[in-house]
């Protein structure tokens, strides 16, 4: 890791931008890359299924007499993996056992609910990628955003509407400050953002843990590190009625995607950020301030992650704990990578990972398959998206399709 103290304007900023996983291949077509992503998901799911199958109790029993009746083992394996994935599908998309249509579609709204913070934080990571920066710090930015949002939510009393607005602004500002610190230090000293963001994640975690021991922050009468619940006026209204958890935070995520798409492709600021990411030296020669670009993009990335924290507080959790960010900050990196750092790509990748998470919960309760398998599948997807052999296969297929 290069963490030099040379001024950020020196040639070390000319490192190749990490907008893509690996060296860009000009033959990589849109069709090819989409096919590669789909293949990556399929292969990851197959490997995940194998893992579920070989660790299944019944499979191991059947394997005890494998040479007598190998079919038993194989069918047990198939049953273990397929039942887990079917349960996941029931939990993420459509539940055929529901009595009403609303019940049957409930899983889909859960997916969107879980996807909301993933999309928002993923956009933050993607935006930084496009400006050539690794934002490993979404976790800390979510935490600080959530902290400020929660504080405004439970400590302030404001009229309906205004209160929620204040919560959103506070959450966004919290994340922006935490991200902005990184941009500022990098711009002033040239310190590497990967180290800064990783370290600031832990600083944020300890800061929140400490705050939750303070009288003003800790819930009265509770010995646990948890804040008071936010006021009703500080919560996102439900989007589809009280039957569903889906809240207006999802609309914020959609709007944020639109805004990031506009920012990157159609605004002067986005033009600057992309130039800084693609060739900082040429950007500097053209009068674009590279250091200012670092600060701006980290502010915006933090702001988006802060909104993810707000969605957690005002949308689903309603009170602050040190676990409020779950692992969304790290998942956001994989979301942005799968979405190839493009706004709508990130959006759909966020929904896919939201589906894995929502479905994973159902899977764990229905089939007893541990939810950590979701982490395995998610990380395998990102690895396979980057795997050149798979990519070659996908390109060949798409060329054949085109021919």
């Amino acid at each position: 890791m290069s963490a030099s103290t040379a001024p950020a304007t020196s040639d070390q900023v000319s490192a190749p931008p990490p907008t893509e996983l690996s060296a860009e291949d000009p033959r990589r077509t849109l069709l090819g890359s989409t096919l590669q992503s789909v293949l990556a998901v399929v292969v990851a799911l197959i490997l995940g299924g194998l893992l579920i199958a070989v660790t299944d109790e019944r499979v191991r029993q059947a394997a005890g007499y494998f040479f007598a009746r190998p079919g038993d083992t194989l069918s047990a394996m198939w049953r273990a993996a397929s039942s887990a994935y079917i349960a996941m599908f029931y939990g993420a998309v459509y539940n055929p056992n529901g009595s009403t249509l609303a019940d049957r579609l409930y899983p889909l709204t859960e997916t969107l609910t879980v996807a909301t913070p993933l999309i928002l934080a993923g956009l933050g990571v993607a935006l930084a990628f496009r400006a050539g920066l690794f934002n490993i710090g979404a976790q800390g930015q979510i935490l600080i955003g959530a902290t400020l949002a929660a504080w405004v939510g439970f400590a302030w009393q404001l009229p309906v509407g205004l209160h929620l607005l204040a919560v959103v602004v506070a959450g966004a500002a919290g994340g922006a400050v935490w991200g902005g610190i990184v941009g500022l230090i990098k711009a002033r000293t040239g310190a590497h953002e990967v180290i800064l963001t990783i370290m600031l994640n832990y600083v944020a975690l300890n800061l929140v843990a400490w705050l939750l021991t303070l009288p003003g922050f800790q819930r009265e009468g509770s010995s646990n590190p948890i804040s008071p619940p936010v006021a009703d006026t500080a919560m996102f209204p439900k989007l589809l009625g009280d039957h569903f958890r889906l809240h207006w935070g999802f609309v914020v995520a959609v709007l944020a995607t639109v805004a990031v798409a506009w920012l990157l492709n159609r605004s002067t600021v986005g033009f600057e950020l992309r130039a800084v990411g693609a060739n900082p030296r040429a950007a500097r020669t053209a009068g674009i301030s590279v250091t200012r670009g670092f600060v701006v993009v980290m502010l915006l990335a933090g702001l988006l992650a802060g909104l993810a924290g707000t969605a957690q507080i005002a949308g689903t959790e309603h009170s602050l704990t040190s676990g409020v960010a779950a692992s969304f900050g790290f998942d956001a990196i994989t979301v942005a990578l799968l979405g190839r750092s493009r706004p709508w790509g990130t959006f759909f990748a966020g929904i896919l990972y939201g589906a894995f998470r929502a479905g994973g919960v159902t899977m764990q309760s229905m089939t007893g398959t541990n939810i950590d398998i979701v982490l395995v599948v998610q990380s395998l997807i990102v690895l396979f998206v980057a795997l050149p052999p798979l990519f070659k296969f996908a390109t060949r297929r798409s060329q054949e399709a085109a021919a």
Binding site: P7, W262, S267, F271, R274, A275, A282, T285, G287
Partner: protein, 569 residues
Amino acid sequence: MQLKLTDVTKKFGDFTANNRVNLTVEPHQIHCLLGENGAGKSTLMNVLYGLYEPTSGTIEIDGAPVSFSGPGDAMAAGIGMVHQHFMLIPVFTVAENVALGHENTRGMSLDLETTRARIREISERYGFAVDPDAVVEDLPVGVQQRVEIIKALVRDAKVLILDEPTAVLTPRETDELLEIMRQLRDNGTSIVFISHKLREVRAVSDVITVIRRGEVVGQVGPETSTDELAALMVGRDVSLTVAKDTAHTTGTALEVRGLTVVGDNGVVLLDDVEFDVAPGEILAVAGVQGNGQTELTQALVGLEEQVSGSARLDGQELVGLRTREILASGVGFVPEDRSTDGLVGTFTVAENLVLDRYREREFAAGPSLRLGAISGHAGSEVNEYDIRTGSVDSPVATLSGGNQQKVVIARELGRPLKLFVASQPTRGVDVGSIEFIHKRIVAERDKGTAVLIVSTELDEIYALADRIAVFFHGRLMGIVGPDTPREALGRMMAGEPTDSVLPPAPWDHSHDDGGSPAGAPAGGSTAAPATAPAHAGGAAAVTLDGDGLDPGAHPADRTTDRPEGNRTA
């Protein structure tokens, strides 16, 4: 050791870098490989050194065929190479660099003492004065090159390949290197000397093989005239003329006073420079690469960190302003290296054409870009500048070098300017584009813009200049007229002050040191009329071949066989 290449071909995809090359390097010989940049010399040597595998053909050493799977094999066979870009590890000491890959060990541990002794021994024999324990990044370029030579000698290289070794050297260091080469030859090392500089080649070579477009086009002796060599090398007589009227200059546009740039390590890169440029005048800056010209242009547009002094444009102080403010105040800037500094490769042609203009009202409404206007602007610029591209939405990296440069020039000349600063405006650009770009620059001058051109190509200097400023070691040696003879410029580029160069006549050729690396093409036998170059009002004839030969390659100093002027013992 005799080294023989037979029918060596090297292809990169569809591109043939070397085509059926035959070459024999005899013992006790300095064998020169002469050719333009991009002719395939370096590729051939990388094949020889095991860095590339030849597509076909054989390499023989003393009659026995060999095949190298890597540089290790080549070194084991007695071939050493000094790369154009030094292959030294900056944070290592000289001894560590020399030992690397060829380490002596004592049990488990590294034995640098043996290496140090070898370095001292070689250093003494050739008068290198290299301290084995010095850290390489602290050494001057000339000494670093000696470390490279020591690396090869320690490995008992019988054949030493020197790839463009003089590109980064001052004239004096160059002369010292040539002397070292002779000594090495006399001690039994064969030398392959890769160069495109005729004077050096003729001064030191025993045999000259000329290579063009990847093929051997001739093998001649050192007595061959520069005209013949140049004709062989270029293969065509290219002569371009830029019609240019007398500059109409009144007043001063750019006023530079005491401009100084200090680098990170405290070295003064631009030292107290003072000059003026009038509106409607081209001031061309000549000098060997790395003598402060780059820093001058960068300081003018606010790209240097530690700048003192003053540069006023129409009375407005530029020093201290941000790059964006300077560009907005009417300064156009073409950086030296278009791919790293001038263009964003992954951006489209249209985007690159507004890289420093996207905030202007024409292209942006508040924070929002007018994509239609940007695209329309690109369409008209592509037509006007004849930029060959499939679409204005193609990434600029897919364009050829000449067309990329036209994108930069079109962008910078496409708005009203008071000052136009261009560094190496035609480097790596094809002949047709050079002519086009030169005409555009003269047209900009005729609009009344002050123009500052930095070039290491003397022919470009003569083609464009109304006045010529010469830089050496960050200092301005003087400003002279456009009809100053080449050899006088060469001497100034080597550090002689104007006064000692200009007044006395006739010219003392023994003092000509050629200002060598600033190579400018002298082309074929119709070579540039350097004795009567580019006077204002006349027409400057320029011979172009894409890259420089040598200012010393002028017919007038054909008689100069060896520079004597300022070699130190």
